[in-house]
Amino acid sequence: MTQTQSSNTMPLPAALTSYVSGNELMSQDSQFIEQIVDRYDRDVGMLIPMMQDLQAECGYLSPDSLQALAKRLNVPLTRLYAVATFYTSFRLAPKGAHEVSLCMGTVCYLKGSANITQAICKEFKVAPGGTTPDRLFSFTAVNCVGACALAPVMVVDGRYHDGVTPGSALEILHGLGSAAQAAQAEAKETAE
């Protein structure tokens, strides 16, 4: 198969097109990728830790950063994309200001976490795995956070809330919004 033929075959899925038409990275970002690659001795076997570090730094895996990492490691971009889409902890879109995980483990489920998910999704117009339209928080329904004696559990920015109900969950999450507003107002005040 010649090169022209292969580029004319199947159109790329929408999610992937942004991954091949990316812009050049800012020099600062490319330096960071350099650092990560060096940290693991350019070992392709350490691809997952590299991508974890990249996400920890940038908040998500942007098309540009993945492309740069692939180039640096001299592996096809599809390999990184396969890894990024296989593991649930990788994110291909920017996250919200806060991170909210609701446990869907067996005990939490038995104690009603499905109703809590429903309530959150309805109230904040967000789907599990997504981010609220106002970027207030990213919402994930996770398999089990391993705190079963506290079920149902919701983790907000690393803090565990136990025995949550649909009502208390919404209250906690609305609290995030008002805290953000208060901080904004305060910042505005001090600026003035």
Binding site: P49, F86, T106, C144, G146, C148, A149, A151
Partner: protein
């Protein structure tokens, strides 16, 4: 930082160091042990720690009294837990305002504060020591023996309690073959679920051709409703490291990995600390304690994929690829990570090794049943009075676990089933509560040991819905590589969803059985071959619930929406009007202060009235 010579260069150095740690007279030392497990932290244990530190500082006795953060105590239901030494007084559900009183009365005065003690629900007696509490009395702690005693971030704590003495024993007086023989005498079997004899695995790996050889600690605890490995890695990380060191010595490996689940950030932090401390004093790295044995461990975090708990998928993940299992006609002990001989054990299996070496295989083999030796850690959770982390000898009955340790059902409900073995396990009904918990017995009952989740369900749990939940879970987590698992589970879920929605058809159960048979016979990995267990075990023991759904369009547990109706109990109804106001479809009528009525034609079974009624006058029938 550790108060130790920069590096312990010989066995004699280590023994001198350990002796000096042990000789520090601890009897009579006043200390406060604060549980820092996930449960206790969620309930504010970190703040309690600060308050105790402050209290000590203010009392001017900073050197004489110690606050010690420790790993999970197990009785998570009563968190946060605080234990005051030397008397070992056990406080539960401690809150911030209690700190001053505990400090004044117990730490300084040596008296207990009765209102914070555990009260035996049967006798009403207040119990001072953990050992007196029924939850702990029935347990036998080997793996968890140091949990709740030592500070997991201090290698000196572990060594002072006898840690790394098994490693020294191995390095000074045992050949690799002798180590394997000792583990064989112990009869240790894999604690991750498979129950494969550990010594046989080690021997195969030792004898396999090829170098280097790898050892792996599997801490990718993915079962929903289970947190044994988490508590072990967070509470006593050195026990896992010491076990791996001994295994590596026996197998002839110089490189190890611990694969930790991504959702356990604290476990990662504590393991990292433990590994760097062990390196610092020469217990990991080149020429350990001046011997010719070298070994080091690297930590890898999982990416949030359940299937990576399977050994070949985990190895694929360690190689930086999607975690897809492969067929195991060539065993991983011969060709595993990077196609080299690889020995993978669960972290709990590794933690069993040091006590076996220290106290002998015979001692270990004396605990448990003929084919399942030793103890097993379970996370006992669900609709039970005392949720928590427990360790019991193999062979104990389910009844003792649930009623003596678990303290019976919550809210006086009736026991229906206990689910063991994680999502690929099964549900065991009341008639088998006297079954002994060991590998063979649980398998015979259509469930399995698994990694140790034990989820108790009561009369309000619909078993068809439970089967649907697990099938849903497994379908979402199926890696998609083999057809039976990917497509079979999708079909099973489709059928189960229909049944729970009231669209069940005659013949559905037969179809489920057929699909289950295909799955168990043809799936690529153990996750696929066991994926039908939740469905099969619920059909086996709760066929009547399936029939009620399919034939009568009725959910006996009243959980499946649309398969039961709401009615107002005229006697309990006070006519307050709350349900009427909240009903979204105006299906409720009634005068104020007179019993209300639900129009079943209009009702959409949304359950709002049931949730809102302050007098529990709305009934599910």
């Amino acid at each position: 930082m550790i108060d130790a010579p920069a590096k312990l260069a010989s066995i004699a150095d280590f023994e001198g160091f350990a002796r000096s740690l042990r000789s520090q007279d601890r009897t009579g030392t006043r200390s406060v042990r604060l549980c820092m497990g996930t449960g206790c932290q969620a309930k504010g244990a970190a703040r309690l720690y600060e308050l105790f530190e402050e209290a000590i500082k203010q009392s001017g006795q900073a050197g004489a009294i110690e606050v010690k953060p420790v790993g999970c105590h197990g009785l998570c239901q009563r968190s946060p837990i605080v234990v005051v030494e030397p008397a070992g007084i056990f406080y539960q559900q401690v809150e911030e305002p209690d700190v001053a009183e505990i400090f004044r009365e117990t730490v300084l005065g040596g008296r207990a504060v009765p209102r914070l003690l555990y009260q035996d629900p049967e006798t009403g007696k207040k119990l001072e020591a953990a050992e007196e509490i029924p939850f702990y009395k029935v347990q036998q702690r080997i793996v968890l023996s140091q949990n709740g005693r030592i500070d997991p971030t201090k290698i000196t704590d572990y060594i002072a309690e006898g840690g790394y003495s098994a490693l020294v024993k191995v390095l000074t007086s045992m050949t690799p073959e002798e180590v394997i023989a000792e583990v064989e005498v112990a009869g240790l079997r894999g604690r991750g679920g498979g129950g494969f004899p550990t010594a046989r695995k080690w021997r195969s790996c030792r004898q396999a051709e090829g170098a280097p050889k790898y050892v792996i600690g599997n801490g990718d605890e993915g079962d929903p409703g289970a947190y044994m490995d988490r508590s072990l890695m967070e509470g006593n990380p050195h026990s896992v490291i010491e076990g791996m060191l001994i295994g590596a010595y026996a197998i002839g490996s110089e490189k190890g990995y611990i694969y930790v689940r991504n959702e356990y950030p604290l476990a990662v932090t504590y393991l990292r600390t433990a590994i760097s401390q062990a390196r610092e004093i020469g217990l990991l790295g080149e020429n350990i304690l001046g011997t010719s044995f070298s070994f080091d461990i690297q930590i890898n975090r999982g990416g949030g994929a359940f299937v990576c708990g399977e050994s070949t998928a985990l190895m694929a993940s360690l190689e930086g690829r999607p975690g897809e299992p492969r067929a195991k006609y060539v065993h991983t002990v011969e060709s595993g990570l990077w196609s080299k001989p690889t020995n993978l054990n669960n972290v709990e299996t590794w933690a069993n090794v040091p006590p076996i070496i220290n106290r002998g295989g015979k001692w270990f083999a004396g605990i448990g049943t003929e084919k399942s030796r030793g103890t097993k850690v379970f996370s006992l959770v669900g609709k039970i009075a005392n949720s928590g982390l427990i360790e019991v000898p193999m062979g104990i009955t389910l009844r003792r676990i649930i009623y003596e340790i678990g303290g019976s059902m919550r809210d006086g409900k009736r026991f229906k089933a206990v689910q063991t073995g994680g999502p690929s396990g099964g549900c065991i009904p009341a008639e088998h509560l006297d079954a002994r918990v060991d590998f063979e017995e649980l398998t015979k009952l259509g469930s399995m040991m698994g990694s140790g989740g034990m989820i108790v369900m009561d009369e309000d749990t619909c078993m068809v819905n439970v089967a649907r939940y697990f099938t849903d879970f497994l379908l979402n987590e199926s890696c998609g590589k083999c057809t039976p698992c990917r497509e079979g589970l999708a079909q099973m879920r489709h059928i189960l969803q229909g049944i729970t929605k009231g669209d069940g058809q005659a013949g559905d159960i037969e179809k489920l059985n057929d699909l289950a048979e295909i799955l168990s016979g043809t799936a690529l990995c153990a996750l696929g071959t066991t994926a039908a267990n939740p469905v099969l075990s619920t059909i086996r023991y709760f066929r009547d619930e399936y029939d009620a759904h399919i034939l009568d369009r009725r959910c006996p547990a009243k959980e499946c929406r649309g398969l039961f109706i709401y009615q107002i109990d005229a006697e309990a109804c006070k006519g307050c009007g709350i349900c009427l106001k909240n009903c979204p479809v105006e299906a409720i009528t009634g005068e104020r202060k007179a019993p209300h009525v639900i129009d079943q034609q209009k009702c959409t079974r949304c359950g709002t009235c049931w949730e809102k009624c302050p007098f529990t006058a709305v009934l599910k029938v």
